[in-house]
């Protein structure tokens, strides 16, 4: 799970806007004008002769250790480099990758034995052994390393050891239904590199051979790869923080694929025959919930009034250019437990019903604060919502907090309504269990909602190994938290990318678990 805390203000974009005379300094370089157009296709074909796939991404991670951060900024470049014990197949089922077959689980469910596949080597030639699995877990569970995985594992994973060279054993404190999911997502790193934050060493088809902080990742084909021979000579990820530049480099054929397409670019992409827009449902959340321990949201009528008058369509259209599904409960369309039937809230704000509910409310408060992170996205969503609520006389203060203070506010429950964007997939696959935890009254991060039934369903979600039972519990939680107006995101945004037509289509199914899998693409002519 990723909390997006990149500061969007620190970087700026190159943009088209015409009609500005900027003087001689600008006109002089006109002679150097790069031309694009009919020859772009030829240029791309020529560039492809080096066999290198080039991808433009939106940002640079600070720490590139894929064991620490589940941010797509780290994980996308890491996908071809790192591998996990199990992986998702075409239908998002978990199948062995580095593991030699299914895990052997004790009858009480507390001991997991996983054999690693023989003949697998890291990029430095070292063979993969159970020791590396142990070193990886060691890193994750070391509180000082700050790995995001710890939130998932700390209460469950009690001990682990290498039983022999090829067998890792993991002991749990209590049955853990999500264990298989974690083993399917968790990259296994080389023991000498698990603590490194400036490089990565894995067993994947490509090795990380170059890294310029904040600028680029260079991946080179690993000849000793244990699987099918990689198609590209190399893969290069280049950071273009601004959407306009990213799109421009794609149009000019300097890159084959760009991530994170802002909605204002969509028309340009759709009208260009050489480009293809990729829109996918993905586990992206606009986590939104209220603090029930304090006025005004302790008042159920107030909560409902706010929820029914939320300008969901406004957020979808103004912020996401229509590429989002309108929100109901906390679980979105790309996640387990998604309930397409659930219709608690209207698309357009229901101002009459809200006014009615406000009349019935005991609280006199007609203003509240909305705490968001410091991203442009969070700010835009909050701005649209605040303008909508102003129409029923609710005054909303937008409180923007950076990472540290945001988590302080979160932890100490010093918020009224809280919102942040999360992209999961790399930690929990097609689900985002952590976003539900504020609804659990026993959790450290509880939002003050106390519902024993929900708490019971939460236990089922985390502990059952029966997928159907888990999905059922998730649907129940989703419905209850929406009906009680505790968690009600405005929308579930789509994931958007753009690629050149000279590249084989991206697998949209993979994007359901945020996987880009660049190593599986191919040049087409």
């Amino acid at each position: 799970m990723t909390l997006h805390h990149h500061s969007p203000r620190a970087t700026v974009d190159r943009r088209r806007f015409l009609g500005l005379a900027l003087g001689a300094a600008v006109t002089a370089p006109a002679a150097l004008a790069a031309c694009s157009g009919s020859s772009t296709g030829d240029n791309v074909a020529a560039r492809h002769r080096d066999g290198i796939l080039r991808i433009g991404v939106a940002g640079a991670p600070n720490n590139i250790n894929p064991l620490d951060s589940s941010s797509e900024l780290v994980q996308w470049p890491a996908e071809p480099v790192m591998e996990s014990l199990y992986t998702y197949d075409q239908n998002l089922r978990s199948v062995p990758l580095l593991a030699d077959g299914e895990p052997i689980v004790s009858t009480d469910g507390l001991t997991w034995k996983v054999k690693v596949r023989p003949g697998v080597t890291f990029h430095n030639g070292d063979p993969l052994t159970a020791d590396h699995v142990v070193a990886t877990l060691d890193h994750l569970l070391d509180l000082g390393s700050g790995s995001e995985w710890i939130t998932y594992l700390i209460d469950y994973v009690q001990w682990f050891e290498a039983e022999d060279e090829h067998t890792a054993v993991i002991g749990l404190a209590k049955p853990y239904g999500l264990m298989r999911s974690h083993l399917t997502n968790l990259p296994i790193g080389h023991s000498d590199f698990v603590d490194r934050r400036d490089t990565m060493m894995g067993t994947g088809p490509y090795a990380l051979t170059g890294y310029r902080p904040g600028q680029s990742f260079t991946l080179t084909r690993y000849d000793g790869y244990h699987g099918a021979e990689p198609k590209f000579e190399g893969i290069e990820f280049t950071v273009f923080t601004d959407g306009g530049t990213r799109l421009l480099t794609l149009q000019q054929g300097r890159v084959d694929l760009i991530t994170s397409v802002p909605h204002t670019n969509l028309a340009t992409i759709e009208s260009d025959p050489d480009l293809r827009l990729v829109v996918a449902e993905a586990p992206m959340d606009v986590l939104t919930y209220v603090n029930l321990d304090a006025e005004p949201f302790s008042d159920e009528n107030f909560r409902r009034a706010v929820a029914v008058s939320m300008d969901r369509a406004g957020v979808r259209d103004r912020v996401f250019g229509g590429h989002a599904t309108l929100g109901q409960g906390p679980i979105g369309p790309a996640q387990r437990g998604w309930d397409p039937e659930l219709k608690v809230f209207p698309a357009e704000a229901d101002l009459e019903k809200a006014a009615e509910l406000l009349k019935k409310a005991d609280t006199d408060r007609r203003e509240f604060s909305l705490t968001v992170g410091t991203t442009q996205l969070g700010r835009d969503i909050a701005t649209v919502l605040a303008a909508g609520w102003a129409e029923i006389g609710l005054k909303v203060t937008i409180d923007q907090l950076a990472g540290g203070p945001w988590s302080s506010a979160w932890l100490s429950a010093e918020y009224e309504m809280l919102m942040n964007t999360f992209q999961s997939g790399f930690t929990s696959g097609p689900a985002n269990y952590l976003t539900l935890t504020p609804g659990d009254s026993r959790n450290l991060l509880t939002c003050g909602y106390n519902d024993p039934e929900v708490d019971g369903w939460m236990d089922v979600v985390w502990q059952t190994t029966d997928e159907n039972e888990r999905d059922e519990a998730l649907r129940n939680i989703n419905r209850r938290l929406a009906e009680q107006a505790v968690m009600f995101p405005p929308v579930y945004p789509d994931l958007m990318m753009a690629q050149r037509s000279e590249l084989s289509p991206i697998d949209v199914e993979g994007l359901r678990v945020s996987r880009l899998r660049p190593q599986r693409l191919a040049f087409v002519t």
Binding site: L3, H6, L20, P29, I64, W410
Partner: protein, 326 residues
Amino acid sequence: MTRWLIVRAAAFVLSVVVGLSGLFLMLHTLPGSDTAGLAPTVAANPEARAAARRAQGLDRPLVDQYLDHVRGLLRGDLGVSNSDGSPAADAVATAAPVSIQLGVMAATLGLLPGLAAGVVAARHVHRPGDGTIRLTALVAVSVPSYWLAVLLLVQVGNRWPGLLPQPGGFVEFSEDPGATVQSLMLPAVVLAVGTFGVVARTTRSALIEVLAGDDVLFARAMGMTERQVLTRVALRNAAPAAVTVVGLVVAGLLAGTVLVENVFQVPGLGQLLVSSFSRHDYPVAMAAATVTAVAYLGLNLVVDVALALVDPRHRVHAARANGGST
């Protein structure tokens, strides 16, 4: 003179010490600054927070930390990035040359036209030519660099992206001088506009003052031609002012690069300073600030000494000769 130099150098050292101690104190008395580098889900866990503090040595007494910090600085150790664990000194060492190149290019582009405009204006003082130059220079110092940069970025970048600083692949000068110069051209032009304005204005007023001075009157009375007066007497007398101009230009460029580098994503010191603050990497931010401040103080010292050598009268005022721009 020697005594003055010693006093001046001592003041420099004192400024550095006070400045760095201030930075250290500010950083370490801020609540939450230690764990800001952690993911919020991790920071939410008190145990994880404590462990992170321990790992960074922040649980020790402040005095010990300060002494360690000073020892580190003396060894050239600027601390370790709290995001990727690499030495902050490395980040600074990569970024500083870029800023220096940018600064040198901007100064080159701005200084000569500025000097020429200042001289022309001073010689035609209060005539139309002067008015035009004054207004141009005034507008040049008034146009905010970040706005000009955004306009150029959008306008030029959209049409001739090859001229943009290459995001994602900044080329080092040693690798390909031509590419570096090309990619720094736009930011350098933006910075040069302000430099031009300051230089033109300062040169003009300094030269006017000198041209009204006694020795110029004397030279004129002795029958020197205007050209001779200008080149032999006036420009020489204006030397102290020229040194001051250099100081001003450097100060302006220091502030300007912070903004302009951010607009153009030039991976220099200014960009490093702001981006490390925005990702809460305080050790790196502090390292960037420290190096910038020390460079600035050092340049101040150099300018002061140069001024004192050129014109002993300036010794008294030298300490104040370099007001920076905010």
